[in-house]
Symmetry: none
Subunit: 436 residues, 2 copies
């Protein structure tokens, strides 16, 4: 079974809001093994919407069309009219729908404004779907071989109506079962990863294997199809296992895993604690770690030593490192001193420290913007320090610095000591040979 | 001038990611007075994309088509092929593009994988657009009366290419002038705000005034149309001024302003410095402040005192406050002690401290999840402390806590002492009467 989704609203056309309804609906459909082949967003324009409904209903590869938005009581709410026009029908007032809209208002102790009466209109052959969260009833109609559902645009009304009235009618309609999985990777570019996966990424495979990149993390997405659930799950599991085996240490997690959730898990598993000392990341590593529920078991806290004075007074970085002739705030010596000072003071098993130049100002020929030193101190020395040169703007440099720091400890806990090699391969960052 | 936007990727069809590129591009087009009439998202399916390009290029009401995604080096990157098919042309290797892709790799000291060679392909009549942020060159072509630009799907590559290579060619192509502005507000719900703005929000107005809400911030969006730039700007400026007057202190900024950028600006204006002491926000306030370029002028740093021990050892919170009979970690006394201890130790003019229960665990009947205390210590006492009860999940509670903390100091610096009233009105948070 294949579906298309249409989202309606001028605010989408102006980019004033992002269409999150389409992604949510697509996810729900995928869980019912229904594929989406098209998401379309249109403005409040009845003739364009009517033409789109006709085009999609006539597409023989589609049999389901979901439309959200344009069901309000105002003049720019054009979906009822557009559907009627595509069906070549009149709009009629539905007595039950009128009752439902009136009841909504009486529940809020307000009289129904006359303008809301239009919400009880439906094309003659269409069926009304009750809205338990708002005034806009949904619609259900047929055109050619396509079932059409119209839902309100307000996300919580739409979701409730989809779950209670649409989903039960869709389940079991598909003759294939789809199962999906995601493997999260760090340290490889998309094309190196594609080389490693090789023919697994051929488009005609089942399961299909594809990649997407977002903020330094590459996600390998796997989609298996079969006639029954068990077979689909088996195909999926086999491919996930092979992807993970091929990617080795680069594949740090699955599903909703993040670097920070994996790191918190490894710290719990090993019964270790962590502190952070952050300069250019300004609290980002702490923020990421504490976004993980239960992180307080392993994360003790840290210091945002943004000024040199705080590096000296709070984590005992020697003042002489900031003298004109010395290495300066962004240097291996300072990163090491930050990590070691923070670890000792917090009495933690590990401490991560980051100092760098995130820009846009502050770069020099010797230390350009993007220069970052990351150090990892542990109860069992030696302290490790790595030099990175990240590309991109301030936010990218900070984000990659925080991720590199989390990854340094995650890989160490997983027994990989060769992570300098990993960084050499990722996104073209330069890496100095490990000093200790 | 009218445009359509196509976004490519199976991950969009599966709802695995939300299409943010289309909204961003639509905003940029609106700023050039180009209206979008359609956003279309398709999977990695060359024949569907080719059909869509043909359909849109033949639509006489459209003269611009922007396509993002599907330009990578792997087999599921089908955009080059689909464009060639819509143009009824062959793909040829562009020597300059090949040079650019090779140069990208040589800058990272890596050999170009053979598979990346396909990125240098273009339909015979198309022109290559250089990608300064990645390996995927863009494309520029003509079909019927439509100009087609193909950009990479990775947002930061797409944005850079749009700004540097597409935008300059689009400016001045439209015969109406559109000017847009955004006013950023905190402390009012969308419907209270709509009541205050009243008839300014009527749909038939010029300028139009609309609102969108995101993560506790409401944005009032104003769009003015006129025949010439001067008139459009005048209409816009008048409406922005009236919106700001009506919203008073609730309107904290305009355009790209954020709470943190406004706060850094006010601190610079008053020559003051700030430190933070964070518990449940775990570094988020520091991260937000240091996301602002130049924040090092006013932000000294801080402490992530996630464990009680760190609250005691690092910012001198009295140990007895954590005894069983005492107020406990999430309390007014601890918040005040954190703020005062941090301010004194950092020798800052101000310090913000946050302690709370972000959940999902840790709540009690007396202190449910969402209970947060925020304190603001200043060189000129007294220290202020406020109690909040935020709704939502862990991320929402942390986000709103960080924003409330930033807003407390921002409003204080702007001479508003009545901000407890503001918080009473926002999102149903409870607020205790200020204690000092």
């Amino acid at each position: 079974m294949n579906a298309a989704i249409i989202s309606i609203g001028d605010e989408l056309m102006l980019g004033q809001i992002t269409d999150t309804n389409a992604a949510w609906l697509a996810q729900q459909l995928a869980d019912c093994s229904i594929f989406c082949t098209e998401h379309l967003a249109l403005g409040d324009d009845a003739s364009r919407l009517s033409a789109a409904i006709s085009r999609l209903a006539c597409d023989p590869s589609l049999n389901l069309l979901l439309i959200t938005g344009g069901l309000g009581p105002t003049e720019d709410d054009i979906t009822r009219e557009a559907l009627a026009s595509a069906l070549k029908e009149e709009l009629v007032e539905d007595p039950l729908a009128l009752q439902q809209v009136k009841r909504w208002f009486s529940n809020t102790s307000l009289p129904m404004p006359e303008r809301n009466r239009v919400q009880a209109l439906r094309p003659t052959s269409a069926e009304i779907i009750e809205n338990t969260r708002g005034t806009a009833p949904g619609l259900h109609a047929h055109l050619e071989n396509t079932e059409i559902y119209v839902l309100p645009g307000v996300p919580h009304e739409m979701k409730e109506m989809f779950n209670s009235s649409v989903l039960p009618r869709l389940r079991g309609k598909s003759d294939v079962v789809i199962r999906t999985a995601a493997v999260r990777c760090l340290g490889l570019g998309e094309s190196s990863l594609a080389e490693i996966l090789g023919s697994m990424m051929n488009r005609e495979n089942n399961p299909t294997v594809g990649t997407t990149a977002s903020r330094g993390i590459i996600t390998v997405r796997i989609l298996a199809q079969a006639d029954d659930e068990k077979h689909a799950q088996q195909l999926l599991d086999n491919t996930v296992a092979e992807v993970k085996e091929r990617l080795g240490i680069y594949a740090f997690g699955e599903g909703d895993d993040t670097l920070q959730s994996c790191l918190v898990r490894e710290l719990k598993n090993t019964g270790s604690t962590l502190a952070v000392v952050e300069s250019c990341t300004g609290g980002m590593i702490g923020e990421l770690l504490t976004s993980v529920p239960g992180s307080s078991d392993v994360f003790l806290g840290g210091w945002i030593t943004y000024s040199n004075e705080m590096k000296i007074s709070e984590v005992a970085v020697p003042r002489e490192l900031f003298q004109p002739a010395a290495a300066g705030a962004v240097s291996e010596d300072v990163a090491r001193a930050m990590a070691e000072g923070g670890r000792e003071q917090a009495e933690a098993d590990y401490a991560l420290a980051v100092t760098g130049i995130a820009g846009p100002g502050g770069g020099t020929a010797e230390k350009p913007v993007g220069t970052v030193w990351i150090a990892l101190a542990s109860r069992a020395r030696p302290t490790l320090a790595r030099h990175f040169l990240f590309k991109g703007g301030r936010e990218t440099i900070r984000d990659r610095s925080a991720k590199a720091a989390l990854a340094m400890l995650l890989w160490k806990l997983r027994g990989c000591d060769d992570f300098s090699m990993i960084w050499k391969r990722t996104n073209g960052e330069s890496v100095k040979t490990p000093v200790s």
